[in-house]
């Protein structure tokens, strides 16, 4: 067994900084726990703020210090995201404490090409989450967690990280480790220092019964588990079936850019979760909770983004969300963001093509249509569908393009061949001559008459062909009983107009222009 531990020393600070709006200069940030400073970031530490100070002291040192309470729920959500990222590399992931994730990677080493390659890929996968990660590997779980907590700067020559493949290599590392790495060691730090016990080797040299009596059995248990002398069973993490993550923004988000900055953190978590399940995102919903207005509580705005082709590309998801947000009108400033995803498509993504082929062109076209639909609206991107109806205004219908629409370019080569053969063999229209115009006006235009001849824009029309009688629609209450004529306009272009044979009302009598021959 080989355990890899990921320790996140600044998890609370980073989880809080994710809720801040994007800033150009680094700001001083500190977290408060029970009226005392619990954690500071580098900018605040440079100004002299230290953990353990009182709130007033810290504010006196740095005037524009951002303060917030520690929030275990927020930290847990951030840690979940790291655990989900780790789940893409091995199914055996567990949480050690509030800041450490443990992976059992012995079975994954061959797939990823060795421990070094696995570490590099894990570091690359964790980079979008923006946390500082300390890694260590050891044959035991507690040993790995212990070594990961050891800060690189304190280790001296172990710059790359403490890694031990065998128990025999782990022993000297553990012997050199300082005592405060152990949980109980931290509590009894002053006592241990007073006794001159600085490293775990010193602890090992003492009689076990005396240590247990003095500092409790917990210290000995942890030492034994780290050295592999005691069993250390772990329960593996199970990922949830649906994704539901919340982010409370520090400052009110009034522009879509600010909302997008917060949503990008949630999208990174969504991608990590989907990748852990070996699946792709089919659709997601962003719910924005608004500030309470004076009159009443503003209901939350929900944005549903549906993807035509399930994808795992964070940049593409962000682009779609940006276009959708640009169109959306926010009723009030946003305070809270919640991202939900219930629709996952399990299965590997189709292979990417090096040279543009029909399949990659179809995928690219679907992505383009997705972008257009996100910006213009789902109803504005349409395709034509012929309908078996003799009434010309009902003979074609515009339906919105949805997903991998059957009418658009087919995705599989087999379907392409079938479409080509179908198009070649059977004509779309029944055997009609060209007596139908290419352009149909959305509403028939009534034409004036002069001397029994219709006028178009003041010019008389010359009837040249007709009448073609169309009687249809008696079954759904909108009957069309019309005589259609082709007429020639003054400049020579042809138009299609009709005259109702049995006009129901006065408005229906007379000539109407239905289409133009384009």
């Amino acid at each position: 067994m080989l355990w890899l531990a990921l320790h996140l020393p600044l998890l609370s600070l980073e989880a809080f900084c994710a809720t801040l709006p994007a800033q150009a200069q680094p700001v001083a940030v500190a977290l408060i726990h029970q009226h005392r400073i619990a954690a500071v970031n580098a900018a605040a530490a440079a100004c002299g703020v230290r953990p353990g100070m009182k709130r007033a002291t810290a504010l006196a040192l740095v005037a524009d210090l951002r303060l917030a309470d520690t929030d275990t729920a927020r930290d847990a959500a951030a840690l979940q995201a790291v655990a989900h990222t780790a789940l893409a590399f091995t199914p055996a992931v567990t949480l050690h404490d509030a800041q450490t994730v443990l992976l059992e990677v012995q079975a994954s080493l061959r797939l990823f090409g060795g421990l070094v390659a696995l570490r590099q890929r894990l570091a690359a996968a964790l980079a979008p989450l923006g946390h500082r990660v300390q890694m260590a590997a050891a044959p035991t779980a507690s040993g790995a967690a212990l070594l990961a907590r050891w800060h690189p700067a304190d280790r001296g020559d172990l710059v790359l990280g403490a890694h031990a493949r065998q128990l025999s290599a782990l022993e000297p590392l553990l012997d050199a480790a300082p005592v405060w790495l152990l949980g109980p060691g931290r509590e009894h730090w002053e006592a241990l220092q007073g006794m001159g016990l600085h490293t775990l080797a010193d602890l090992r040299a003492l009689p076990r019964a005396g240590l247990a009596r003095r500092f409790g059995a917990g210290l000995l248990d942890e030492l034994d588990r780290a050295r592999g002398r005691q069993a250390d069973p772990r329960r593996w993490l199970e990922w949830p079936a649906t994704f539901d993550s919340r982010l409370e923004l520090f400052a009110r988000a009034e522009t879509s850019e600010q909302v997008l900055a917060g949503a990008s953190v949630l999208l990174a978590r969504l991608v990590a979760w989907a990748r852990a399940r070996q699946a792709r995102v089919g659709s997601f919903t962003l719910r924005m909770g608004h500030e309470r207005q004076r009159q009443a509580q503003v209901p939350a705005t929900e944005l549903h983004v549906e993807l035509a082709e399930p994808a795992l590309d964070a940049a593409h998801l962000q682009l779609l969300l940006r276009e959708r947000l640009g169109r959306c009108q926010l009723a009030a400033p946003t305070l809270e963001l919640q991202l939900r995803c219930r629709h996952l498509v399990v299965g590997a993504a189709p292979n990417g093509e090096l040279f543009p082929t029909r399949a990659s062109e179809a995928v690219g076209l679907v992505r383009l249509l997705e972008r257009l639909r996100a910006r213009l609206g789902d109803e504005q991107v349409q395709r034509l569908e012929p309908v078996a109806d003799h009434r010309p205004e009902r003979a074609s219908r515009s339906v919105p393009v949805q997903g991998t629409a059957q009418g658009t370019v087919p995705a599989r080569p087999g379907a392409a061949l079938a479409a080509v053969s179908a198009a070649a063999s059977a004509p779309v229209a029944p055997a009609l001559p060209h007596h139908r115009p290419a352009w149909l006006l959305p509403e028939p235009l009534p034409l004036a008459e002069r001397g029994a001849l219709p006028l178009l824009e003041g010019r008389p029309l010359q009837l040249v062909s007709g009448p073609e009688r169309i009687e249809a629609g008696w079954w759904d209450g909108v009957p069309a009983v019309r005589d259609y004529f082709i007429a020639q306009a003054e400049d020579g272009s042809l138009v299609w107009l009709y005259r109702s044979r049995l006009p129901a009302a006065v408005d229906d009598a007379g000539w109407f222009l239905q289409g133009r021959f384009g």
Binding site: L376, Q380, S396, A416, A429, W439, I486, D491
Partner: protein, 246 residues
């Protein structure tokens, strides 16, 4: 001198002013032999804008483009329409050899309704056209652009069209013939009678064409109707009249 005479044969991008240029990109044959003879390269040019100026929708522009679009559909390339002026009729398109179900129609939110003074320049249709051209996955694009465009809109579209492997047709109003345009090929279309189209080549990479072409389009009228239409037009074709015809 023999060297100077052979200069234009050195490279396809070199051409003399009295010649029609040979484009380095593949061209799409338009399906009309008379027109192909006058177009540089013998067809619609790819990767550049082609402007068709019409007095109004319905002079025969779809019948002019139908053979080229049908050829693209047979090659399984996608054709997108941007803001068409009216609803296309699927049956009529099928009779012209096009599969109407394969078209994608994009309508901008601004819409082309309302008086000219109220209409805002449709930013959305320009953005959509630019995105579609830059993606490079289209076979052809037909765009009906609004009348008033920002000054550099056509230049941007021309740049975007360089990423697009196929022709781009911009159909605009005939009033734009006096305004300069970045499109290297500009045609003015007018109806020359029933089932006939008069094409004036306003601009092309080569010498201007003195006489407008008259092309025969896919026939809409049957033979007796055509005869009736031509006789009705015959005595009146020379002098445009306003008044009640005989």
């Amino acid at each position: 001198m023999p060297i100077l005479q052979a200069l234009e044969n050195l490279h396809p991008a070199l051409w003399r002013a009295h010649q029609v240029a040979r484009p380095s990109e593949a061209v799409l044959p338009s399906g009309h032999a008379d027109l192909d003879a006058q177009l540089p390269g013998g067809g619609w040019p790819a990767r550049v804008l082609t402007e068709l100026l019409l007095p109004h929708a319905g002079v025969g522009e779809l019948r002019l483009l139908a053979p080229a679009l049908a050829a693209l559909q047979r090659r399984q390339r996608a054709v997108m329409w941007f803001d068409p002026p009216a609803a296309p009729c699927a049956w009529a398109l099928g009779a012209l050899g096009l599969d109407a179900r394969q078209f994608v129609v994009v309508r901008s939110r601004g819409g082309a309704r309302g008086r000219a003074r109220e209409r805002l320049p449709a930013v959305d249709v320009l953005w959509a056209l630019e995105q579609a051209l830059k993606s490079g996955h289209l076979g052809a694009a037909l765009a009906w652009l609004p009348a008033r465009l920002p000054a550099d809109a056509l230049r941007r579209l021309q740049l975007a069209a360089q990423a697009h492997d196929g022709p781009v047709f911009l159909l605009r109003d005939a009033q734009e013939r006096t305004r300069p345009s970045a499109a290297p090929l500009r045609l003015l279309l007018a109806s020359a009678g029933p089932d006939r189209l008069r094409v004036t080549l306003l601009k092309r990479r080569g010498p201007p064409l003195a006489q407008p072409l008259t092309l025969a389009l896919a026939p809409v009228l049957s033979a007796p109707a055509l005869a009736r239409a031509q006789s009705a037009r015959g005595p009146a074709a020379a002098v445009p009249r306003v008044g009640v015809p005989v």
